[in-house]
């Protein structure tokens, strides 16, 4: 493979921004590569990395997402109550420039399915834009910390909360809700960056008019968002938007993944349930749907497709293709043509039992029907991956144009699934299943892997005792960085898969590391410690702040509480 050509194409097509050492959006660039061309820290010197700074956020919830670095300022959003810190990187000890304290409705903590997390902010045009958990988007003056606008986008009364990191394409702020476990009617909205005014709302199912699926623009079929559901079950069918968005400026398409259909009990929603568990390609200007692909039709296992859609240019089958690569919760990694949605590659990156493969011609999974769940099917056992996913969408992966490979955290968990009928009561959970986990085969529960998306094969892996729930950053120093649930932050040589450095950061890592060039010209790596998210629920005993909430350890991972408790810390490492 011609690495130089790949890099050049990537810079032209996927990475319009010059690598100026900043980190201004969750995935670093429009293509969501999480690749930085910074190379001061490399395979030869990474063993000398040391902690240069740390800061307690004062918040205990799961610290997902990542800091931003814009100019000489680092911005950090905390989990609920969504404090925004601005650190001055030009002064010793990185003191605060300002601290923004929004008024967030505390009830949102009980509408959020899985801990009161936040996945970060995005910067554009002098503004830091992020979502408050209670259904509001705010824009803050990056220089002064002054609130410029605040817009209500979601309705907690319908089970919607908003931990997602917004994405900005052109002058549109794109946002979506969580609530796949609350029977929401999923959507994505575009807000005007200057004013916060809602410009369009596109639903993920329902009639074409509400999906902004116009004849001539979308050729997939008419009113599939209604005809693939029974009755009006689409109105409470989920399809949340809680992951990451990417953007191809040449094709002028945004790519967003949708989450699971609700409820988990399949028998309350016969049909394929389009467009849950799908990738949707839309025009940012008016929201028009251009193409869609559903990874897991009529989902039986909570296989959300909210993972990042990384845009790259790869030689697939002897041809250079503009592709989109995504690691789905269902255990398959997909490589699609991002102009058309054509399926090019779909191979398992994790242990999979629910399907025997993906039919490339139809794009449909070849099911193992003994793994299909539903209230009348009793307790279905031995389903792999678990509903945590072969990889969690909360853990964004990375692409290095220098190797042409993708790097990602993975989980090696399986589950049993016992569904039951459930009634939707707005603002309460709409789930209908009990899903205990067990470790997958091999005696380990997670791994960090390198993946060849052109051929659909694993190149190397680093096995981990616990599931790996961290995002990844990869650099031109040929290093990848990731963290573990038991609180290690690690650097890996991406050529060999060898761990070259590690440091215990004080709490499990569920955030996504970044790298940046400081005002002193040196390269740094930053990451949050702070176990939480699903692992607040699953770990059982990592809470210590509430004497009235004492839990046994997770039965599938009883050792985890030995290594970590909750606690939010921002770390910066350097040479």
């Amino acid at each position: 493979m011609n690495t130089a050509l790949l890099l050049a194409l990537s810079l032209i097509q996927g990475t319009p921004q010059r690598d100026d050492g900043q980190w201004t959006m969750p995935g670093r660039d429009y293509a969501a590569t999480r690749f930085s061309s910074l190379a001061q820290i490399d395979r030869t010197n990474a063993a000398r990395l040391k902690a240069v700074w740390s800061f307690s956020t004062g918040v205990l919830g799961g610290h997902e997402g990542q800091p931003l670095v814009v100019g000489s300022t680092m911005y950090v959003v905390t989990p609920f109550p969504n404090v925004l810190y601005a650190f001055d990187l030009t002064r010793e000890g990185y003191p605060l420039k300002w601290k923004y304290r929004p008024d967030v409705n505390p009830t949102s903590q009980g509408i959020a399915c899985c801990d009161a997390i936040n996945r970060g902010a995005v910067y554009a045009d002098g503004k830091i834009v992020y979502n408050l958990l209670d259904g509001h988007t705010v824009a803050i003056d990056a220089a002064t910390g002054k609130e410029l606008w605040k817009t209500q986008i979601a309705d907690m009364g319908q089970g919607e909360t908003t931990p997602m990191a917004p994405f900005i394409a052109r002058d549109r702020v794109l946002v979506g809700p969580s609530g796949g476990e609350f029977g929401i009617y999923g959507w994505v909205k575009a807000l005007d960056l200057a004013s916060g005014k809602i410009l369009w709302t596109a639903h993920n199912m329902g009639p074409d008019s509400l999906m902004i699926a116009r004849r001539g623009t979308f050729t997939g079929g008419a009113n599939l968002g209604v005809s693939t559901w029974s009755g009006d079950s689409w109105r409470r069918g989920g399809a949340p938007v809680w992951g990451w968005i990417s953007y191809d400026p040449q094709l002028d398409l945004i790519y967003l993944g949708t989450g699971n259909p609700g409820p988990y009990n399949t028998e309350q929603r016969p049909g394929e349930n389009k467009w849950t568990n799908s990738v949707l390609a839309r025009r940012p200007s008016d929201g028009a749907l251009v193409w869609a692909y559903q990874f897991t039709p009529h989902d039986s296992w909570d296989f959300d497709a909210n993972a990042e859609m990384i845009l790259a240019d790869l030689v697939v089958g002897g041809r250079m293709r503009k592709v989109l690569v995504t690691f789905n919760k269902n255990g398959f990694a997909y490589t699609l043509d991002r102009a058309t949605g054509e399926l090019l590659v779909a191979e398992p990156f994790a242990h999979v039992t629910w399907a025997k493969g993906i039919d490339k011609r139809t794009g449909l999974p070849i099911l193992d029907t003994t793994k299909v769940t539903g209230a009348s099917r009793g307790n279905v056992t031995g389903i792999c991956p678990s509903l945590e996913g072969g990889k969690s969408p909360a853990s964004p992966s990375a692409f290095s144009p220098r190797t042409g490979l993708f790097y990602t955290a993975t989980n090696n968990l399986c589950m049993n699934f016992e569904a039951a009928p459930v009634t939707r009561i707005p603002a309460t959970p709409f789930i209908g299943a009990t899903t205990p986990y067990v470790a997958g085969p091999g005696g380990y529960m997670g791994a960090f892997i390198a993946w060849d998306a052109a051929r659909g094969r694993k190149v190397w892996e680093v096995k981990e005792q616990f599931p790996v729930w961290s995002g990844t950053v990869v650099t031109a120093g040929d290093l990848a960085f990731y963290g573990t649930l038991d609180g290690w932050f690690k650097a890996v040589d991406i050529r060999s898969g060898k761990v070259v450095w590690k440091f215990k950061v004080g709490s499990g890592v569920v955030g996504a590391p970044i790298t940046f060039r400081g005002p002193d010209g040196k390269q740094y790596v930053a990451v949050y410690a702070g176990i939480g998210g699903d692992w607040f629920l699953l770990s059982g005993d990592v809470r210590s702040d509430d004497p009235a909430d004492v839990r046994p350890p997770a039965d599938f991972a009883p050792e985890l509480g030995r290594h970590t408790s909750q606690g939010g810390i921002v770390w910066i490492f350097g040479l």
Partner: protein, 162 residues
């Protein structure tokens, strides 16, 4: 101090029984929190709510069903062992563990995420859920977790399911 006792499973009865006094003379229609500290050593005037189904095993069984149909287990977990919401079977309470305190938590909700169910559940149904929760065995002491010599932590006596 005037006692305000509700003996029947009716929130209307509570309002009636407690609204007979004036704002100056009668206790407010609230409940006592036995685990609160009283300023000056004097307990504030408050009503005492009685669960009409206390210790009734049939009501506890009904309450378990309601706990599921009202999606309580979606947050508090199967067996009320704790999930995104706190455990209700560890013998520890944020807002008081008396029958009346539990009733109020369900009816009015609580500000850290508990929705108010007073609009969708009858008082009788709420009392049955209270009866179910109170029927669950509670550990007399929360055991200290130990991990001796690298062995796996002892399994809790109680099974847990998400």
């Amino acid at each position: 101090m005037k006692a305000c006792v509700v003996r029947r499973a009716s929130y209307v009865a509570l309002l009636t029984a407690c609204s007979s006094g004036t704002a100056d003379s009668g206790p407010p229609p609230s409940i006592r929190y036995p685990n609160h500290v009283a300023a000056g050593g004097s307990q504030p005037p408050a009503a005492e709510m009685k669960n009409p189904f206390a210790d009734d095993s049939g009501s506890a069984a009904d309450g378990l069903k309601i706990f599921s149909t009202m999606n309580c287990d979606g947050c508090h977990g199967g067996g009320a062992l704790g999930w995104v919401g706190p455990s209700l079977v560890d013998g520890r309470w944020r807002y008081g563990g008396s029958d009346g305190a539990l009733y109020q938590s369900i009816f009015y909700g609580r500000p850290r995420g508990m929705p108010a169910y007073g609009g969708v559940m009858s008082p009788g149904a709420i009392w049955k859920v209270v009866t179910y929760i109170r029927s669950q065995p509670v550990p007399s002491v929360v055991p200290t977790q130990r991990w001796p010599n690298g062995e796996t932590a002892p399994r809790p006596a109680r099974e847990r399911s998400p």
